[in-house]
Amino acid sequence: MTPLIRTPRSLQGRLLLLVLSGVALVWLVTAALTWFDVRHELDELLDGHLAQAAALLVLQQGGEVENEGRGIDAPMLHRYAPRVAFQVFHEGRLALRSANAPAGPMAGAGPPFAAGFRTVQIEGLAWRVFAAQGAERDVQVYVGEQIGSRGAILRAVLRSTLWPMAVALPLLVLAVGWAVHRGVQPIRRLGRSLAERQPQALHPVAFGDLPAEMLPMIDALNGLFERIALLLQSERRFTADAAHELRTPIAAIRMQAQVAMGEADGARRQHALQGMLEGCDRAARLVEQLLSLSRLEAAEMVQAPAMAAVDLRALARRVVAELAPRAIGKRQALAFEGDTPCTLPGNETLLAVLVRNLVDNAVRYSPAGARIRVAVRPEDGQAALQVEDSGPGLAEADRQRLGERFFRVAGSEESGSGLGWSIVRRIAAVHGLALEVGPSTALGGLSVRVVHENCPDRAGA
């Protein structure tokens, strides 16, 4: 269903339409009220005149009924006179009348005589007639007036009300149009300045002379600019960090390649070539981690990852099976514990990355022959995961800094990017999981527990 008048898209058009239709409506209502009021007053006034004229005629007739033969037609004295007529009857005879009055009484159809006002048709015209009679009932007076003349007066009054409106409306259109145009000027200016902005110009919009109604919008816009600037800044920092971090493995690959090229000894060349391969693996792993971290951040900012009920026990067991060959290669005892299925709402892919990172860290940073235990069990009705090892553990200061991008524990022989913990932290945050890092009471090394944030025993841990 389309409305009769489509609301204009432009603020200017909308204001113009509203103001003008409002003004026109008020004017028309005023004209209508004036019409009714004037008609009422006019009727009262003219009826009063008719009654008074009739009374005069009745009084006058008392002394002049004998003037027979002198002619009964009174002279015309005014240009309105043809529209007014009177008749005086004396004892049933027409004694006096105005020139335009008919011969018969202006009583119309109905009873022969009734005092008071009535409206009658005479020769096709509507007349307002007042009838009166003398005290002895021998004199009857009719005073009439064409109703059409009242209409003419009314129309004249109405014309004088409506004419100025007809003239004023176009002027009003111009005036309102100009005023609205001036009023929306700041909005237009704002639009232009926003359109001309460079994409990287994220400084806030100045309030300046903008109307107060627009301040909430400008505030929201500035808030958005600020958030975009923050996002951009973190992206830039991330790119710079990533580039820096990639420099070291690339430098290592290059160095090992040059060593291999210049090495005559077969075993040493083999060692350098092995180093090149290791460097490539490291760079690839770093790129992999950077990508998953940036994907995670993007996902967090754009939309939440798809969540479903995930069987944590099955997932952890799968990850342990995946990493077992590495642990066996280091002669480590990697064990999995989990008697009851534990589900938690989450994204299976992300949770697998989290568990893999934790177990991988344990394998990586525990020495050969170490024991590593991965356990999944319900705690207070929530699924909890614990990864423990018998490795060297972590100093309190280092524990504090875990998860800082590219932070690496000093003196660790293993090559790492320091990104694994950043990834783990983010995934935990997305899932509302808390990470508890501390010494392992069972194995003596490091213990990492992943529990639900609202777990009541969190404070005690």
């Binding site: 420099r247 430098a251 290059r254 040059q258 060593v259 180093g275 000093a410």
Partner: protein
Amino acid sequence: MRILLAEDDSLLGDGLRAGLRQLGFLVDWVRDGEAAERELRAQPYEAAVLDLGLPRKDGLAVLEAIRRAGVKTPVLVLTARDAVPDRIRGLDLGADDYVVKPVDLHELAARLRALVRRAHGQPQECLSVRDVVLNPAARSVRRAGEPVALSAREFDLLQAFMLGADRVLSREQLEQQLYSWGQEVDSNAIEVHIHNLRRKLGATLIHTVRGVGYMLQRDAPPP
């Protein structure tokens, strides 16, 4: 030439050590800032390659500390930080050169040789004393234009003498210049090498200062 390498990345450190060794440097490798500072203060290295992002003590802090302690060893900063303010800060704190990773092995070696030369007030590429000319880059020695075949140790010893010409060097100093960590030092190895050098380059080049050490004399003694 014995240098200290301070690099925490195991793969890069391993490559740098192997590569620089190929090019004739004696390389001691430390993996953290505290060890780097300790070694630089304790040993007379010809030069040091210092990574900035070192654990325990940041490379710049190490640099500041050793310069304040009066260590004059030329330091080449090798880092992933390439922002201009970082470079300026590094150079202001006493770095002699600033190289951004990744670096070419030969360029790094050339820069180190240049640093060592400059530290000894010798701007030319080759060291020369009398009719002996030593080319550190090519690791070659000529006497009166004729090539002289020297073993690696003899070459290093001659380079140490030529860099410290007209100064008496003790046997301990020479040993420190000649052997990196973990290398066994024979009790009379220095004497054997000096004997060989005298045989190949003339008896008057290196003097024995009894009870103190040895000295290479720049000017030939009057006949």
